[in-house]
Symmetry: C2
Subunit: 229 residues, 2 copies
Amino acid sequence: MSGSRPAATPSPPDGHGAAGQRVAEALRTSILDGDYLPGERIRQEVLADRYGASRVPVREALRMLEAEGLVTLVANTGAWVARISLAECEEMYQIRERIEPLLLRFNLPFISDADIAELDRLATAMESADVEEFLVLDRAFHLSCYDLAPTSVLGDLVRQLWNRTQHYRRAFTRVFRSEGDWSVHHEHHLLVAAIRRRDADESERVLAGHIRRTRLELARHPEVFTDGA
Amino acid sequence: MSGSRPAATPSPPDGHGAAGQRVAEALRTSILDGDYLPGERIRQEVLADRYGASRVPVREALRMLEAEGLVTLVANTGAWVARISLAECEEMYQIRERIEPLLLRFNLPFISDADIAELDRLATAMESADVEEFLVLDRAFHLSCYDLAPTSVLGDLVRQLWNRTQHYRRAFTRVFRSEGDWSVHHEHHLLVAAIRRRDADESERVLAGHIRRTRLELARHPEVFTDGA
DNA sequence: GTAGAGCAGATTGCATCCAATCTCAAGATG
DNA sequence: CATCTTGAGATTGGATGCAATCTGCTCTAC
């Protein structure tokens, strides 16, 4: 065997050898924040100018985001913000339905009483939040339960699925809001209760049901995936 | 919205604008075939020379394989063939245990009688195959069931998990073989029977059990992950 | 009016070159 | 003898420039 220090340093966050990372991070945030819309074209030179780099690290960043499913690359043609179909979105929710409960189970032993109090606070705050606030709080509510256990694969995978559906969650939140659907909040409080009891099976069941119900709801709104096509 | 043709062509397999893809494909195959070992250093220039390209597309290829979990990159330092720990491997098997049954369920309606006959043939052929043949046949047995349904996320995900554990499956196969463990083949035939009956629930159960048992077995051989460290 | 061919401009892909950083072995220090 | 320092060589990271390809408009034909 030759070298032997791969998993050591996650690399310094700045300086030389980090331009690609930096661009990727910035672009990822922009996409998740909704500054770019699915289907929108991404030009290398624009990003290069904006972030003060050449096109080489920009291309690297695009490759990374492509792997995360946030960007679609076509050779010799260009890059677009990834657009997903209703079928793909349902698929991602079905995957989440199976693996997020597992991730929650892994994390359950690490959730402190203070964490639970925070979860309860977030669940309540969501009830009176506007769409953009809701997105932030909902994401914090769920993902904060997933960062405690030292999982190295599952956590990233779940976060990726959340990122890939972020834009569409924004759209659904608007629709559900206008329909006066409050089940979300009820389910959130049920989940907090199950977590408080450290009931792994029930926590899994509630979370799976939460994701499942959301999937069935979003299937009723295919227009979210087809407008502006 | 600006442009609007992302998901169209998967790009031509050769010519201009495919050097990165080509290198990535070749390197991926080499790693999966065991030509490289986990922890082995990968030098950009070597790959560039070998595949007749400059280091730029090589770096692109490395980024792609990093995203697939086959390569570990450290800024300013280099690239290594990814090495996983026992804990990570168990995690991947637990993920597979939850999502592969789902993928099988999706594919069940598309599996023809001819496909089933082929599965049976593969299951039988595996019983008298050496380690390297077994790896090929086992992979074909499982993954061939997953390519029929038009899944766009789940199929790739499962294939990735198979790839990331490929080297360790090779090692385990040797160990199990030496221990005279024949349960694998029994489970394969049980799975074929359940598929033949188009029994989705039972197919899921058998497949989950198959993966689960393998995970419990491999946990008994941590030496596979620590030797040569 | 609609469909197809063709060309200029824009954009991407890649090779080369130089700077920044790391590696590793030899030497110094305690 | 172990540990730290140091510097030359090796290796990676990024900017620039040119070739290949695509986009989208214009012109032509029917």
